[in-house]
């Protein structure tokens, strides 16, 4: 059985019908547990209670990037293989990504107030996220502006490709432009040394929760889109008949 089978709308609806309740349940549990656990962690000796923000900030920031990558892949599948569900999945993912970016930006900005004494600083990490947010907004705006769905899918696909290249390019340009204040990645290679276990496990849980939340929302939104398309197609047929 090939993975492409799931790109068939009917098959997709059937499969997700069974999958969705489990996914929603798991996402709800992991999200709540991760965030609540995070909220209950002890204060950090340097950052005080603000360290609790990390359990929202980091998962959101991670998802913000990963969702764009997922959109890129979905767009490529649409452009190369013309699987309609894939294009709709990219469309459905964009608002989730935008909200995740917004959460990362908002929590970061709120965090910055006590830590750096300012709401906003033109730090490269922050700046890259602002640019990413702009790409999300542009992508969503283009989807909603183009009336013909075939054209909209193609145009946003092209925009996603070009945008990805430029998002990367901007990242390097921004690094060149300003060296920042933001901490580096602590969970990467030698994670154990930089962050204590007290914070690590709830953070992992919150990240898993955000990921599951994304998956659940993505499936629901894709199903919404599929139903809308189906309705539009049926109505158009009747009108022409």
């Amino acid at each position: 059985m090939s993975i492409w089978k799931y790109a068939n709308p009917a098959q997709f609806m059937r499969t997700t019908d069974g999958l969705l309740p489990w996914l929603v349940g798991a996402a709800a549990i992991c999200c709540t547990a991760g965030v609540v656990w995070g909220f209950l962690t002890p204060d950090d000796f340097r950052q005080g209670s603000t360290v609790k923000i990390v359990f929202l900030h980091v998962p959101a920031a991670m998802m913000a990037i990963n969702i764009w990558v997922m959109m890129l892949i979905a767009s490529l599948i649409w452009i190369i293989r013309r699987h309609h569900v894939s294009a709709l999945a990219a469309k459905a993912a964009a608002p989730i990504g935008a909200v995740m970016t917004l959460i990362a930006l908002a929590t970061g900005a709120i965090w910055g107030q006590p830590m750096w004494g300012t709401w906003w600083e033109w730090d490269p990490r922050l700046t890259s996220f602002l640019i990413l947010f702009l790409f999300y907004v542009g992508y969503i705006a283009l989807w909603s502006a183009v009336e013909d769905p075939d054209s909209a899918a193609d145009l946003t696909g092209v925009l996603c490709l070009v945008g990805s290249v430029f998002a990367l390019l901007s990242r390097y340009a921004v690094l060149f432009w300003n060296q920042g204040l933001h901490q580096g990645a602590s969970l990467s290679v030698q994670s154990g040394e930089r962050m204590s276990h007290v914070y690590r496990y709830p953070l992992y849980l919150a990240m898993l929760g955000f990921f599951l939340l994304f998956l659940a929302l993505l499936l629901i939104r894709t199903r919404t889109e599929i139903r809308r398309r189906r309705l539009a197609a049926l109505q158009a047929r009747e009108m022409r008949a």
Binding site: S49, K52, V99, I103, I110, Q113, I220, R223, R228, E238
Partner: protein
């Protein structure tokens, strides 16, 4: 109630904003989904 110290507003604001955004997104998603499903069922019944 746990003590958040002098950063209470900061932490609560961060949680508040994030949860509001997530709830908003979830609500919009679910509402739109319900609307689409109802519209389609409506159509199947009458059309």
């Amino acid at each position: 109630m746990i003590d958040l110290g002098r950063y209470a507003t900061t932490v609560l604001m961060a949680y508040g904003v994030s949860i509001a955004l997530i709830v908003g997104l979830v609500w919009q998603t679910v509402a739109a989904n319900a609307r689409a499903r109802r519209a389609l069922e409506e159509h199947d019944r009458h059309g």
